[in-house]
Amino acid sequence: VERRFEETFGAVQQHFADVAETLFPGGEGRLRLSEPDEDGPDDGSEPGVEIELRPAGKRVTKLSLLSGGEKALGAISFLFALFLARPCPFYLLDEVEAALDDTNIGRFVELLRRYADRAQFIVITHQKRTMEAADSLYGVTMGADGVSQLVSRRVPRASRQAAVA
């Protein structure tokens, strides 16, 4: 079990650095195991997982001092790192990009498209830019009758061929 954790951690650590590179271009992110008494009253037996983020142009910043958008990007990096190391069949993300500006939403969309064939992503959003990630769109509406309705349509992705070419 200890061995499996180390393998998992190694994989997550590598993927975290990679994904952080996409979400923080020019910056970096890394995971490390905490020192024995780093976090105060530690039972000392099991080190925790520390996250370090250095957005572009800045020094490594204490997590609490990061901006709302930077925290969201850091969390998304961790989530994708877990996924790439130990994939679940599907992921449901409900408005995880709410704090992101348009440029960062674009990077989030790029991440979804890059791994679209490795897991099933279901993304709930009210942001237009996020719709660019879609292969299928599901429109939910509620009429004056208090009942939710749903319509869906497939989104042709001709642009993807162009992007890949």
Binding site: R4, E7, T8, F9, V12, D39, E46, P47, G48, V49, E50, I51, L63, L66, K71, G74, A75, I76, F78, L79, L82, A85, R86, C88, P89, Y91, L92, L93, D94, E95, A98, A99, R113, A116, Q120, F121, I122, V123, I124, T125, H126, T130, M131, A133, A134, D135, S136, L137, Y138, G139, V140, T141, M142, D145, G146, V147, S148, Q149, L150, S152
Partner: protein, 166 residues
């Protein structure tokens, strides 16, 4: 292993039977505030066996039953079905190519769980989902307003997430 459909009836703002057919690729759910998008997410968590009403923004288990609206009475029961396409054989114990996981609740009653129409105990259902990498802390469902929790959580909690995934 692909989630091919979510069927809801009587659940939150979906009194009528509604089927969300999920195609291959990235699915993006859009709509105005309060239209019912997060309710679909709640349905998915509920059908996978959630026992914590607060996880579904509810206070009591019966809160997920359609509460009624203009000219329409409250629902007496609700049901959510998750349809999995097992074409790649990832569900090893079962030899089906399609797996339907259903949860049903009658107002004031106990929940009921079914796998391919056969009644099962909740623990069987949760175990089945866990075998395929679902359930288990639901780390694959990130609820609205909850994305930053990973960063504000303690290092020990993140370790727990990794151990679960390992």
């Amino acid at each position: 292993m692909h989630l091919s459909a979510i069927k809801l009836r009587g659940f939150k703002s979906f009194p009528e039977p509604v089927e969300v057919r999920l195609e291959r690729g990235v699915a993006v759910v859009v709509g105005p505030n309060g239209s019912g998008k997060s309710n679909v997410s709640d349905a998915l968590l509920w059908a996978s066996g959630s026992l914590s009403p607060s996880e579904l923004r509810a206070e009591k288990p019966d809160d997920v039953l359609f509460a009624g609206a203009a000219g329409r009475p409250a629902a007496d029961w609700c049901e959510v079905e998750l349809l999995f396409d097992n074409a790649d054989g990832q569900f090893t114990e079962l030899e089906f190519s399609e797996i339907a996981i259903t949860r049903r609740l009658h107002r004031g009653g106990e929940g009921q769980y079914l796998v391919n129409k056969a009644t099962v105990r909740r623990t069987d259902l949760v175990e089945l989902l866990a075998d395929v990498g679902l359930g288990g802390g639901h780390s694959s469902v990130i609820g609205q307003g909850r994305v930053e929790e990973i960063l504000s959580s303690k290092p020990e909690q993140r370790r727990a997430l990794l151990e679960e995934a390992a």
